[in-house]
Every structure is written in structure tokens, then in C-alpha cells.
């Protein structure tokens, strides 16, 4: 039994952070979600969700170096914690179990 279940958008953000690896920060997450889901997520929603995931212990964060593109403002880089990785696996398994046996309906190749 998973300790806490993730909302849909929380899963999006967690998956995006996992994809981005060392380069996961607010703006990059927004763009990764847009690229992979086609959803034009608002930055503030991403920020709020990153906060919440950090509070739940799925993410940890640290300040990066200032870069000129952002007017010298630093980035906050996020990374998955062990329980974040577990939560990601759990939600992936949940989707897999839900989809089990529906291969034809979902149009998967056998």
C-alpha cells in the first residue's frame, strides 16, 4: 500500500523531473510537460506542485548557479528522492495493472 497517492498533475511533474535528470527546474518542467503531454501548464501550477511534492518528501531541491538568460536569477534544481522514485514506480505499476488485458482496446501491438 502506497503511503500517499499522487494526483494526475503531480504524476506529470514527477515524471518530468525524472526525465530532466540533473536539469530539472520550474521552467524546464513546464516545457517538458508541454512537449510530452501537449498540455500548456501554468507556471504557478507547476511551482505549487513542486512545493507540495517536496513537502511530501518525493523531491528535494537546491539552488543552482546564476545564469545570464534569467537576468542573473538562480534556478532551483529538483531531484527525486528514494520515496519519489518509489512513488513513481507505484503509479506506473498502477497504470500497468489498470491497462492489463485491455491490449486490443487500447490499440497496443501484441
Amino acid at each position: 500500500m502506497a503511503p500517499a497517492t499522487l494526483g494526475e498533475f503531480e504524476q506529470f511533474v514527477l515524471f518530468a523531473v525524472a526525465h530532466l535528470g540533473r536539469d530539472a527546474y520550474g521552467a524546464a518542467v513546464v516545457e517538458a510537460i508541454a512537449a510530452r503531454t501537449g498540455r500548456d501548464a501554468s507556471i504557478s501550477a507547476v511551482h505549487t506542485t513542486l512545493d507540495r511534492l517536496e513537502q511530501k518528501g518525493f523531491l528535494r531541491s537546491r539552488f543552482g548557479e546564476p545564469t545570464p538568460q534569467r537576468g542573473g536569477k538562480r534556478k532551483r534544481h529538483y531531484a527525486l528522492t528514494t520515496s519519489g522514485v518509489q512513488a513513481l514506480r507505484a503509479s506506473h505499476r498502477t497504470w500497468q495493472r489498470l491497462a492489463d488485458g485491455l491490449g486490443r482496446l487500447l490499440g497496443e501491438q501484441p
Binding site: A27, S44, T48, K73
Partner: protein, 452 residues
């Protein structure tokens, strides 16, 4: 391109201080990417949308220690709670909100546009010059009417007599054919005395401006160009001085560029070229205007010296008329007067003033009508909301609390109208062209937000 400052300020306001740097950084990075890929206007709209979403989603201050220390935080929590309540109420009636915001936005936008033009022409008549309201225009009232212009010999006489002025400059304008390389365009030039830029207090943006040594017969033919021309045709080339262009066929060397705000010596008009008066022989060969005593073609502009009085200047001008009469006869009915630029006859202001006043009146009426419409919409809505307000009151809301909520709704509508107006203002300055009086003159439509 930086994002809209108001939106950025609002964002900073709703972001907790310990997260502000990285969050604003994220907004700005995505904004810059958008501005590069889809253009500044769409990026701005996007930024505002993101800001509104951030405002709508802002949690009622999860209090950190830093927040508790802030005395403004109580006031802010009222603003955020009531503001959010007002936002939700307005969102429930999108039709009403849209109409009210659009009506207010259109009216505010029209007023701001018209006022910007009035400001440019009547209140700050010669932008880019030092204290343009202190400039005086020399006129010669006569029995048959007031001459706003003087001949070149008259100008030199006045210039020597008027010691109470820091200097008296003369100017005229004319359309010219400007050839840069192989391309030719028609544009407007001012021919000016050598001290023109000094009297007006204009400093060059590049190279140098004209001086007395350029305004001498036999001096090399030189020209000063406007910032607009510099950007449009020379790509802001810093090594512009020394380039040769042809003005009405005559080769002339560019020596410098005027600052962006400066448009010329005639209020409300915008010029692209400045030539010394000595070039008049090149532009009008055979006319010999510089020696013709009867040809009044120059407008003379001066600035009162810091410690001089206007009465002393008037006396000197009359003395100049006296010496002209003594030397050449005539001038029996001629007086001389130094008037502020805005009330001087001739030039573009007398033509533009009635247009501007009518426009201002129209804009005010439009605003009044829009406010009236929004007010009647709100009254109709208030009648429908009696039940809601009664419920709120019976649940314990005080009259003040109810009033505060309604005031917030009104304020939010007004803010929405102002925001709509700000968006409208991206286009309206160009529409002003439709109201400019039919004229060949290079009428300026400078607006604070379009000026570079």
C-alpha cells in the same frame, strides 16, 4: 525585451520572499523564449495570462516567519481574500464581466491615446530639448496681421540685438529627396542656423550636431540625421559620421545623429534631416534667400538667459526694429513680440490644437458613456443579487464586509478595463493617423510607450 513591469510586480507580490528569485527567473526565462519564438506582443499576453493564473491560485499566505514580520501582510490577506471572492463572482458571469471590461478598456484606451498626443504637442511641445517651455518665438505684429517669420537679414539684426537671450536660432523646413546609395526617399528636412541645437539644448546621440562653423558660405556641405533614420536606414551604425548621402542631388556628409526623443524645432512635427542655413543655396539654387530682405521665410526661436527678464528682451527686440527702420526705412507699423512656442502663430500647433481639443472632448464623452453603461449593468446585476447578499448578511457578514466585497468587484472591473486598455494601446497610436489633419507635413505621433 523585458516582461510587463506591472505583471512582474504583481507576481513578486504574491510569491513568498524565500522562493521569489527562482520563480520569477522561471517566468522570465519562459517569457524570453516565447518572445523569441512568437513575438513580443503574444509573449506579453502570455505573461499576463500566467500572472493572472498565479494571482488566482495564490494561497492565502501560508505564513512563514518572514511574512509575520511584515505589517502589510494583514492588509494583503484582506486584498487576497476579497480579491479572490470578487474574481470568482465575476467569473460566474463572464458575459457581464467581458462587456464591462471591454467597454471600460476601450474608453480608457481612447482617452490615454488622445492624452498622449495632447501631451506630446501642447504640454511638451519640443521633446528632447532642454526646458522647451522656456523657448520664445519671435513674431512681428503689424497693422495688417502678425508675421511669424522674418527674413535672413532681419534675423541677423535681431540676433545681435537680443542680448537677453542665450541665443536666437532660425529655422525653416522643406521636403527633400534623400538618396542613400541607390535608394531615394522623400522626407522632411529642417534648415537651421548654426546655433540651433545649442539654443534648443540638444546633445548628439552619435557624432556631433551642427555648429556656427557649418553655417558659413563655403563651408563643407554637412547634414545631421534623426535617430529614426539612423535606425531605419543605417542599422544604428556607430561609425555613421563621414557617410555621404545626396539631398536633392547635392552630396552631403553626415556628421551626427540627434537623440531619439528629439524631433525638430516645430512642435508636433517630426523631421529626419537638419542642414545648415548655408545649404539653402544648394537646395534653392538661384533664389538667394540669404540676402533677400523682403523674403520672410525663417522662424526665429530663442531662449531667455537665466538672469534676464522678458521685458528687457522685448525692449531689445523693439530696438532691433528701430535700427532696421533707420537703416532701410519702412517698419513704421511693425512691433516685435516674443511669445511662448505654444501660443505663437504659424507652425503646426494652431492647426493641431482644435483637432486635439475636439478629440479630447470626444474621448471624454466616450468614457462617460462607457461608465454609464457599466453602472447600469451593475445596477441590474445588484437587483439580481439581493438574495445572495441577504444570505451573506444572515450568515454574519457585516454591512461593511458586504460593501468591501462589492467595492473589490468594482475595483477588479476597473483594473480589468485598464489592463484591456494597456493591450489596446499597442495599436491605437497607429490609428491616430486617421485623425491627423489632411496635410503633407510630417505630423508626429510620438507616444511615451512607442518612443524608443
Amino acid at each position: 525585451v523585458s516582461p510587463p513591469w506591472l505583471a512582474r510586480w504583481l507576481l513578486a507580490r504574491v510569491t513568498s520572499p524565500d522562493r521569489r528569485e527562482e520563480r520569477l527567473g522561471d517566468f522570465e526565462e519562459l517569457y524570453a523564449a516565447r518572445a523569441a519564438s512568437r513575438g513580443a506582443v503574444r509573449a506579453r499576453l502570455w505573461f499576463w495570462r500566467q500572472t493572472l493564473r498565479a494571482l488566482a491560485g495564490a494561497r492565502p499566505a501560508r505564513r512563514s516567519d518572514a511574512d509575520d514580520r511584515r505589517s502589510a501582510s494583514a492588509a494583503w490577506s484582506i486584498v487576497s481574500t476579497d480579491g479572490r471572492a470578487a474574481w470568482h463572482t465575476l467569473r460566474r458571469e463572464p458575459g457581464f464581466t467581458l462587456i464591462a471590461v471591454l467597454a471600460l478598456g476601450a474608453a480608457i484606451g481612447i482617452n490615454a491615446t488622445v492624452f498622449s498626443w495632447i501631451n506630446a504637442v501642447l504640454l511638451d511641445p519640443l521633446p528632447g530639448t532642454a526646458r522647451s517651455r522656456d523657448l520664445l518665438h519671435l513674431t512681428l505684429p503689424e497693422r495688417t496681421g502678425t508675421a511669424a517669420t522674418v527674413s535672413y537679414p532681419e534675423y541677423t539684426t535681431f540676433a545681435t540685438h537680443l542680448a537677453s537671450l542665450t541665443g536666437l536660432a532660425a529655422r525653416d523646413d522643406l521636403p527633400v529627396g534623400l538618396a542613400i546609395g541607390t535608394s531615394v526617399e522623400r522626407t522632411w528636412a529642417e534648415t537651421v542656423s548654426g546655433n540651433f541645437f545649442e539654443v534648443l539644448g540638444v546633445r548628439p546621440a552619435a557624432g556631433r550636431l551642427l555648429s556656427a562653423s557649418d553655417d558659413r558660405s563655403g563651408a563643407p556641405a554637412v547634414v545631421v540625421i534623426s535617430d529614426r533614420l539612423w535606425r531605419a536606414r543605417f542599422d544604428r551604425d556607430p561609425a555613421i559620421a563621414g557617410r555621404v548621402v545626396r539631398v536633392n542631388g547635392a552630396p552631403m556628409t553626415i556628421v551626427g545623429v540627434t537623440p531619439p526623443a528629439f524631433q525638430g524645432g516645430d512642435p508636433g512635427l517630426a523631421y529626419d534631416l537638419w542642414l545648415p542655413l548655408s545649404a539653402d543655396a544648394l537646395l534653392y539654387p538661384g533664389l538667394e534667400r540669404l540676402s533677400a530682405r523682403g523674403m520672410r521665410w525663417l522662424r526665429a526661436v530663442g531662449r531667455l538667459a537665466p538672469d534676464a527678464s522678458i521685458d528687457a528682451a522685448h525692449a531689445e527686440a523693439l530696438a532691433a526694429v528701430g535700427s532696421l527702420a533707420q537703416a532701410h526705412g519702412g517698419y513704421a507699423d511693425t512691433r516685435a513680440a516674443l511669445l511662448p512656442l505654444a501660443s505663437a502663430p504659424g507652425g503646426s500647433i494652431p492647426g493641431l490644437r482644435p483637432v486635439l481639443l475636439v478629440l479630447a472632448g470626444m474621448a471624454a464623452i466616450v468614457l462617460l458613456v462607457a461608465c454609464g453603461n457599466v453602472a447600469s449593468l451593475m445596477i441590474a446585476r445588484a437587483a439580481r443579487r439581493r438574495r445572495e447578499l441577504a444570505v451573506r448578511a444572515s450568515l454574519g457578514a457585516t454591512r461593511f464586509r458586504l460593501m468591501r466585497q462589492l467595492v473589490f468587484e468594482g475595483a477588479l472591473l476597473g483594473a480589468g478595463g485598464a489592463a484591456a486598455a494597456a493591450i489596446l494601446l499597442l495599436w491605437t497610436p497607429d490609428l491616430l493617423a486617421a485623425f491627423a489633419p489632411p496635410s503633407e507635413l510630417p505630423i508626429s505621433r510620438r507616444c511615451p510607450w512607442t518612443a524608443p
